[in-house]
């Protein structure tokens, strides 16, 4: 198991390298002088030159990259002249709402989708199956920010049951915190729930057709246990991959949803920075989210090894 984990970690390095280089290049592919763009058309040449010096833009490109990479690895993501803060501090204060939203949405999605998919597989071909999968098709077709807007129209504007935007800190009351997050979480969760339900169903169907399920039935195992003990553990692997990937998708979907619902998270941070051309913040946020995304995939891979003994053996070269 350790060998397997070690191998996965090593495979991360080239990916992180490419991620780093790409993020770094964001500033440098801008047509024109980044410093001048950041300061705007009213800046004097002296101000621009001074900023160039502070940002180290006069050094050769590779030197800038090494310097940047070195600082990033130590946790220093730079300083934003617009926010008058270290970028890492800005990210820190904005990460909370985004994570809260993503986690809430993930819990919703999994809690609804996995049982739905399993049930659809158990009752394959019946009305239950077809209606669940019909919903799933709809879910995949509606982009989350659109769903968010529609939900606001129905539940906030038309019915007035829920707020149309804003965020409350959980410390100020769990009830309010949840009330403000329900609509955005549902909007985010819908597409992922659809994908997870579809994958759960197809994975279960695959497994239910296997010979070892026939064996279990021949042994006299009850239908319930056949599904939930024998089948689910085998079906879990692909389902887990989708769930893991979905968390990354949720975090990035949150970027746009936060604009719909005025949530002060990473999404708002990045989008406001685009308008201000605050490249340092954009780099920091994109890097952070990308790294989180990559780490999530790593965790999913490792969980794979835990759940399926064949993969552990195969990947560490035992069999």
């Amino acid at each position: 198991m350790i060998a397997y984990a070690g191998k996965r970690l090593l495979a991360l390095i080239p990916i992180l390298a490419v991620v780093g280089v790409t993020v770094f290049l964001v500033i440098h592919i801008t047509p024109g002088d980044p410093a001048a763009i950041m300061l705007g058309p009213d800046a004097t040449p002296d101000q621009v030159a001074a900023l160039r010096q502070t940002m180290g833009l006069n050094e050769p490109l590779w030197a800038q990259f090494l310097d940047w990479a070195g600082r990033v690895v130590r946790g220093d993501l730079g300083y934003s002249v617009f926010l008058h803060q270290d970028v890492s501090a800005a990210i820190g204060s904005h990460l909370g709402p985004t994570l809260a939203l993503a986690i809430f949405a993930e819990v919703l999605a999994v809690a609804v989708a996995v049982p739905a998919g399993i049930t659809a597989a158990r009752h394959r071909g019946t009305a239950v199956d077809q209606s669940f999968m019909g919903f799933a098709l709809l879910g995949v077709s509606v982009p989350s920010f659109l769903l968010g807007l529609f939900l606001v129209l129905v539940f906030a504007v038309l019915l007035g049951w829920l707020p149309s935007g804003g965020y409350r800190d959980p410390a100020d009351g769990l009830g309010a915190f949840l009330r403000f997050l329900v609509l955005p979480a549902v909007a985010l969760a819908a597409m992922q729930a659809a994908l997870i339900a579809r994958m759960s169903r197809s994975s279960m169907l695959d497994v239910l057709g296997s010979n070892y399920i026939k064996t279990a039935k021949a042994k006299g195992v009850s239908e319930f246990l056949t599904v939930y003990k024998h089948a689910v553990k085998n079906a879990a692997l692909p389902i887990m991959t989708v769930v893991g990937q979905s968390f990354g998708a949720l975090m990035t979907g949150a970027v746009v949803i936060e604009t719909v619902f005025n949530i002060p998270g990473m999404g708002q941070l990045v989008i406001n920075s685009i308008q201000r051309r605050d490249f340092v913040v954009i780099q920091g946020v994109v890097l952070t989210i990308a790294v989180i995304y990559v780490l999530i995939n790593l965790v999913v891979d490792l969980l794979y090894g835990v759940l399926d003994p064949r993969i552990r053996a195969e990947r560490s070269g035992v069999t």
């Binding site: 010979n211 070892y212 026939k214 279990a216 021949a218 042994k219 006299g220 759940l307 399926d308 069999t319």
Partner: protein, 330 residues
């Protein structure tokens, strides 16, 4: 009589209509017997076995007839009662050992599950019983085998595990569906020896499904030959090999390559192909491929009629067939 199958008919509902895979099959298994259920792929042997155990999806399958286990009709039981029977009184071993064990649970876990389902014993005793069951099938180091995952075992070992699992609750009837087909010849011989040993050691009745007449000759006491969903001949194993009555049985036996005789002559084949279940012939189902067929054979479907002693044949001309020259000869 341990098992009496009477006029078993199994029909599947498909997109193209209902198809009858098993059409009026009747046979018996006595305690201590190994009955070989023989036929080509697709003749309905596996479906018969799965029907006896009611393993098929009952939403799309229609059974009729009776399956009497010690006098109790299995088709009359509720789903829950049937579940008790499966693995307890009747156990089944499947064809492909490579995929018949759950890959994410250890062998021990799966064996203990089988035991705990049918016997009220504490966990530790279940483990001991599991170890005994494994030892009885000749697995070396059964205790450590319990801790292994299926993928760590060879095909032959996995099949022994399957047999151990089937026998762990001392079933009255064992159904083995082509248990050696997926194994190499050496392992096949070992598994057959094991089955023969088990027959000698207990009163368990066995149905051994196979398409290999060599296997039949080695372990079976009686033989039931099937073709396109019907039984076409039943006899003791000696009679089948010395005086086969049905032309199909003769064809099967003649196709076995022989060690003696003219080894340069081409192997005998039964000409033609098995008709599709969608187009079952009107008269005798074997008529198109039968070297002895007459026009009357194609018009009237023959019944399965008893011949001397315990034998029965489904052929109107069986008494008119020429002298049987022996296996590997036409």
């Amino acid at each position: 009589m341990l098992l009496r199958v009477k006029e078993l008919r199994t029909r599947f509902a498909t997109d193209r209509g209902e198809v009858t895979a098993v059409d009026g099959v009747s046979f018996e298994v006595a305690p201590g017997e190994i009955v070989g259920l023989v036929g080509e792929s697709g003749c309905g042997k596996s479906v018969t076995a799965e029907s006896i155990m009611r393993l098929l999806d009952e939403r799309s399958t229609r059974y009729s007839g009776e399956v009497l286990l010690d006098g109790v009709d299995l088709f009359g039981l509720t789903a829950e009662e049937m579940r008790q029977i499966r693995g307890g009184s009747v156990a089944m071993v499947f064809q492909d050992p490579m995929t018949s064990l759950n890959p994410v649970y250890t062998v021990g876990n799966q064996l203990e599950e089988a035991i705990l389902l049918h016997q009220e014993v504490p966990r530790e005793q279940a483990r001991a019983l599991a170890e005994q069951a494994l030892a009885a099938t000749g697995i070396p180091a059964p205790a450590s085998c319990l801790r292994r995952y299926p993928h760590e075992l060879s095909g032959g070992m996995r099949q022994r595990v399957m047999i151990a699992m089937a026998l762990s609750c001392r079933p009255k009837l064992l159904i083995a569906d082509e248990p050696t087909t997926a194994l190499d010849v050496t392992t096949q011989a070992q598994i057959l020896d094991l089955i023969a040993e088990l027959r000698d050691g207990s009163n368990m009745g066995t149905i051994l499904i196979t398409h290999d007449m060599g296997v039949v000759a080695e372990v079976c006491t009686r033989v039931v030959v099937m073709y396109l969903g019907q039984v076409i001949e039943q006899a003791s194993v000696d009679e089948i090999f010395t005086r086969p009555a049905h032309p199909y049985t003769r064809g099967l036996l003649a196709s076995i390559p022989g060690l003696t005789g003219d080894t340069s002559a081409p192997l005998h084949v039964i000409g033609g192909k098995v008709p599709s279940l969608w187009e079952v012939p009107k008269g005798c189902r074997f008529a198109d491929r039968c070297p002895f067929a007459e026009p009357a054979c194609r018009d009237d479907a023959p019944e399965l009629l008893p011949v001397d002693g315990d034998r029965s044949v489904r052929c109107r001309r069986h008494s008119e067939l020429p002298e049987w020259a022996g296996v590997s000869h036409v």
